[in-house]
Each structure stands twice: as structure tokens, then as C-alpha cells.
Symmetry: C2
Subunit: 344 residues, 2 copies
């Protein structure tokens, strides 16, 4: 295919671990993108919550900014564009074709949902790894994207870079998902599977905190919220249900879980925090439950930080996808895979 | 999308369990295909090895033929077209746009490879569930398809309907597969995992024979050939290696395997027939080996007729796909998924 090289401009909201890993991946794959997709990219804006913002329509110096953020400096000194009073102002002025929304999750989905709405409304494509706004405003945001004829993609919201949405939408044509279940929260799964090996709740929790697996405050992992938000995204995006995170029943995990873990082990079973969705009389029901699983259940075999999704379909029976011990690089890859979907 | 309805003609070579399941699926999805892909299909030819052949350019009566095959009748009475002296003659005269090659596997890949070569050369798209010709003639057949600007698709050759090729090619853009391993043969996996539960080799083998999982002669399952052929297809199609089935080292399984199964169990391990491929100095190496696996290895958790593929990548680390207890309907679905890829 002979194509003319296209210039494409990116803007980032959020430049934390995911944003920086994604920027590094873009730099690494610069030649590949030119060769296989005939695109030259530049980053024309980066906005953060606590480390300033910068716009440069000629392209920000990505490598320098990465080095500067490693030293903890603000982005402001790279700014070479119009004054912006707010992130919404930033979206309107950054001159991007694609906005990558990677701000920190707030469970209400804000301010990310407002960023995404503003960007889609202004005719930008949006790619996000931020599950909050997708779960909370799925119908509105997808409708807006259709209306403005732009793409809204969110592969990184569930199971990081494992191609969940890509697979279920593109690789299983004509297939209806009857039900699904999975383990989507690494923090609780690490804790439960480590406790089976004799680790205490506190020691396992400490590990996920220091390893950066959970947020500094892991309560949204432990109370099932993180799983419920991801389940809500799945239900809306691949089962056509309209189930908000708050409509999903949850069982929380706390330090007194040890007894239940050991009781399950004695019965040669495994305790897991299972997210599941099924159809009932035209509706989809979602639940996040502590379940005792048979040792041969594929979900019981998921240990540590790994995640699994099992879908039960009308054409393919049961199909499972497992992501082993993901890191932030996998989330960055999800954003990259969405970018390629957009370019195709 | 407003599209004019397209007429598309299919021909089948082979009308055994897979071919009939695929024909039933086409009938079931007739309205869906018209609605979502704006196509009307007809089957203009079916050729079998032992049950005659039929051509009708106005379309063969699919339901009647399915009923007639259930009663064991020959297809000849449905013939309403030019005389055909051979299957090659059939390919040239059947008037199809897409040939579905579903004849019984011969390890040499013949006569299926000749059918496919003839069809591609005549400008037909080819979809096959027949791994023999793909493994043996991959380079030649894919080159020929490119040259004639038609599609050559084979999703059903590995792990039935699980979207292996679809996923690895379309859903993981810019990803290099560094290595892969899996369990691709249901017969041996059923035997090994049943023996762990105390079943004898003979009883387990009898089950897979009567359940139609293995061929009447299961020796190609037991001696590792079936796994090696599938591994060869994977290596060529997704790792860019040129490894023929006969270049793959194999460990066979026989009735004296019980001792090794029990010895592994005593060490809290599981014996599995593992197919794996890895890169070494610019080449890809393939092996089919009996391995003792840690109980938490995802491959150890695969029991019964289920299959698994684990890929290790440069972007996504490790990703696994599991197909649970497939049947012939899943192979039929693979052909259907390939058809949709072709229509897109």
C-alpha cells in the first residue's frame, strides 16, 4: 500500500505512570508507525493535575519531558502556546486529533468524563485507560462519538492490554455473549492467592501497595468497587446491558478473610473474588462475589496479579483469556492498540 | 451502511461432521448474513470422497441434502450440472466464489493441498479447517492467494473456533511473538488428565474413540503428529518461521504412560503433552514434548478436551487463550468466522 504520510497530533491528560509508559512506547515505535501506518505523530499538549501543563503546536519534546518528569519538574517550562485557564480550555486549544485521557480515577468518573465529553464534542478522537467515565457515562459518550463521527476507545479499562474488547467485537463475529465471569482486580487476587500460601493479609496488602499494584488507598480494590466498575464496562460494551457500577452487588474483603481462605483450602477449594454477569429475562445482572471454586475451575488457577475473563457464547461455548502478571507497560500497550484500531 | 445485496456462491469439498455442522450454521444465520453483511448465499457444489457429488448453479437444496445425508444417501441425485470426472474438475465447474475445503486429513496434506492450489489458482477464495495442507504448503498457498488476490483462511486448523489467528494478527498490532506453548491435542490431553483421576489408558482411549474426539485410528494423536502439524501452522502463520511438521521433535504417548502420570502426581505435578516454539538465532524451533508441569502452570489446569495457547510477546508479556470442551460446532464456527473476515 502506497500512502502519503499523515501528520497526527496527540494530547495527553494525565502524565503519571501510564502516560509516561505510553509516551515511551510511542517513541520506541515511531519508525514502525511511519513504516506500517504512514503516520508521523507529535504531542501538542500534555495537561496534568499537579505538575502543570504544556502546549506546543510544533510538538513538545517528548524525550526531554520524560527526563524532566523523572526529575519531578513541572511541565510549565515547556509551554509555548495559548494560555489555558482549565483542562477544558486545554482540550480546545491543544490542537490534537486524538486525546489520550489517562487522568487518575475518580469513582464518579469525573473530571475524566467531562474531559472526554468536551473532546468528543470538539471532534477529537478519544482513547482512555480510565474506566470510571466509561462505566458511568457509557451510553452518552458512545452516542456522542457516533454523532461527531469520531472514535471512542477504551481497551485499557479492563485487563490492561489483553485485547478484550478487540477480541470480543472483531474476532467473534455473529456471536452473542450469554454470560461472562472473571477476576479483574489484581490487588484482591494477589491477597487471596498469597494467603493460600500462608502469607498474612497485612503482608500481602503491604506488597501490593509498595509494588504500585493498588492505589495508595486500596479500599476501592478491597470493597469490590474496582471489579464492579470493570464489570459494568464489560456489560455495557459487550453484552448490551445498561448496568451502572452502583447497581452491582459486591462482597468486600477485609483482614478477617483468613478464616474463609483456610476453610476453602481444607475443602480443596479456592476463594476468589469473582465478577460475573448473566442474562435474566431481557436484562443483564452483574455481581462481584467471593466464591469458593473447585480447584480445577480456570478462575481458581489464577494467582498473583494475573487476570482472567471467561465468556460463554452461543457460537463458541466457553472461551477464556488470561493475562499473566501485567505491569503498567501492558496498560500503555492497550492505548497503543486502540491507536492502531483508530488508524486502520 | 446501505449496501446492495450481493450474491455469493459456496462450494464444499468434504461433507462429514464438520461440513454438515457448517451447513447447518449457514442455514441458521441466513437472515443474519443478509441483514449485517448484505449477502445472499447459495451452495452450488458439494463433493465428497465416498458419498458422491452434486453441482447446481441455481443452488443446491441445503436442508434436503442435510436430511438425505442423515439417511446415508449419496449426493448424486441432487446433481444438476456439468459432468465432473474428478474433484479438480468439480472445482473448475462448481461456479463458487468461496471453496470450503473440509476433506478428511491426510498427513501429507493431500489431496486437500491440490484442491486448495487449484481453487486459489482459479481465483476462488479458500477457507479450510484442514491443517495438513496449511502446515505442509503454507508458503506456497499463501503466496498463490496473494498473487491471485483472493483470501486463504484457516482459523479452524488450531483450537477449532477459538480465534487464534484472528486474535494474534488483528488484535495485537505491532506485537512480536517471542515464544508460544500450548496443548492442542484433545485426545492425549483427555487421556492424561483422566488417568490422573484413576482411569486406565485403555478406558480413556476408548472414550475418545467412541465420542468422536479422535479419528477412528488415534495413532496420529498418540504419536504427537496432530500436535506437531498444528504447531507447524502456528509457527509459520504467526511467528514467520518455516518449520514443517516433520522438523518438529515429538514424544509419543502409549499405554505404559501410567507410571509417568502417577510419578508426576506424587511430586504434585501434572504430565502434559506440550507443544512449544521459541526463537533461537534467527530461527524458530518447534517441539512436542511430554512435560511435568507445576500444578499452578496454566497448562496443568487444562483438563479433558480443552485446549490452551499461551503466547509470550514483546508488548503484552504473556497472554493465554483457553477453549473449553470444544465440539464439531466450534470448528464449524471457525469456518463461519473466516467467512465473515472475507466479507469485511
Amino acid at each position: 500500500m502506497d500512502q502519503e504520510t499523515r501528520q497526527i497530533n496527540f494530547a495527553f491528560i494525565g502524565f503519571g505512570r501510564v502516560g509516561r509508559a505510553f509516551a515511551r512506547l510511542l517513541v520506541e515505535r515511531k519508525k514502525w508507525l511511519l513504516k506500517t501506518h504512514a503516520i508521523e505523530w507529535k504531542i501538542t499538549g500534555i495537561a496534568t493535575k499537579d505538575h502543570g501543563m504544556a502546549i506546543d503546536h510544533d510538538g513538545l519534546p517528548t524525550r526531554k519531558i520524560l527526563a524532566s518528569r523523572r526529575r519531578g519538574s513541572s511541565l510549565d517550562r515547556f509551554h509555548n502556546g495559548p494560555e489555558c485557564a482549565s483542562h477544558l480550555d486545554f482540550i480546545r486549544q491543544c490542537g490534537a486529533d486524538v486525546l489520550f485521557e489517562m487522568s487518575v480515577l475518580d469513582l464518579s468518573g469525573e473530571p475524566a468524563a467531562t474531559h472526554i465529553r468536551e473532546a468528543l464534542g470538539a471532534g477529537l478522537n478519544v482513547i482512555t485507560s480510565n474506566k470510571g467515565p466509561v462505566a458511568t457515562h457509557y451510553a452518552q459518550l458512545t452516542r456522542l462519538a457516533r454523532l461527531r463521527d469520531v472514535r471512542f476507545l477504551y481497551e485499557g479499562t479492563v485487563m490492561d492490554g489483553a485485547p478484550v474488547f478487540n477480541l470480543l467485537r472483531n474476532s467473534l463475529p455473529g456471536t452473542r455473549i450469554l454470560s461472562l465471569r472473571g477476576i479483574f482486580n489484581s490487588t484482591t487476587n494477589y491477597i487471596l492467592s498469597q494467603m493460600e500460601q500462608g502469607t498474612t493479609f497485612e503482608a500481602a496488602l503491604e506488597y501490593v501497595k509498595t509494588a504500585g499494584v493498588s492505589e495508595a488507598d486500596p479500599s476501592h480494590d478491597l470493597d469490590g468497587w474496582d471489579s464492579a466498575i470493570k464489570l459494568s464496562v464489560l456489560i455495557q460494551a459487550v453484552m448490551g446491558g445498561r448496568v451502572k457500577p452502583e447497581e452491582i452487588e459486591r462482597s468486600p474483603i477485609s483482614s478477617d478473610i483468613g478464616r474463609a481462605v483456610r476453610a476453602a483450602l481444607r475443602r480443596d477449594r479456592r476463594l476468589r473474588l469473582v465478577a460475573r454477569a448473566y442474562r435474566q429475562g431481557g436484562k443483564v445482572i452483574g455481581k462481584v462475589e467471593l466464591q469458593e471454586l473447585e480447584v480445577f475451575d480456570p478462575l481458581a488457577a489464577i494467582r498473583g496479579l494475573s487476570n482472567i475473563l471467561v465468556v460463554n457464547t452461543d457460537t463458541m461455548r466457553e472461551l477464556a483469556i488470561v493475562e499473566n502478571n501485567p505491569s503498567v507497560d501492558q496498560t500503555a500497550y492497550a492505548l497503543f492498540a486502540d491507536l492502531i484500531s483508530l488508524l486502520r
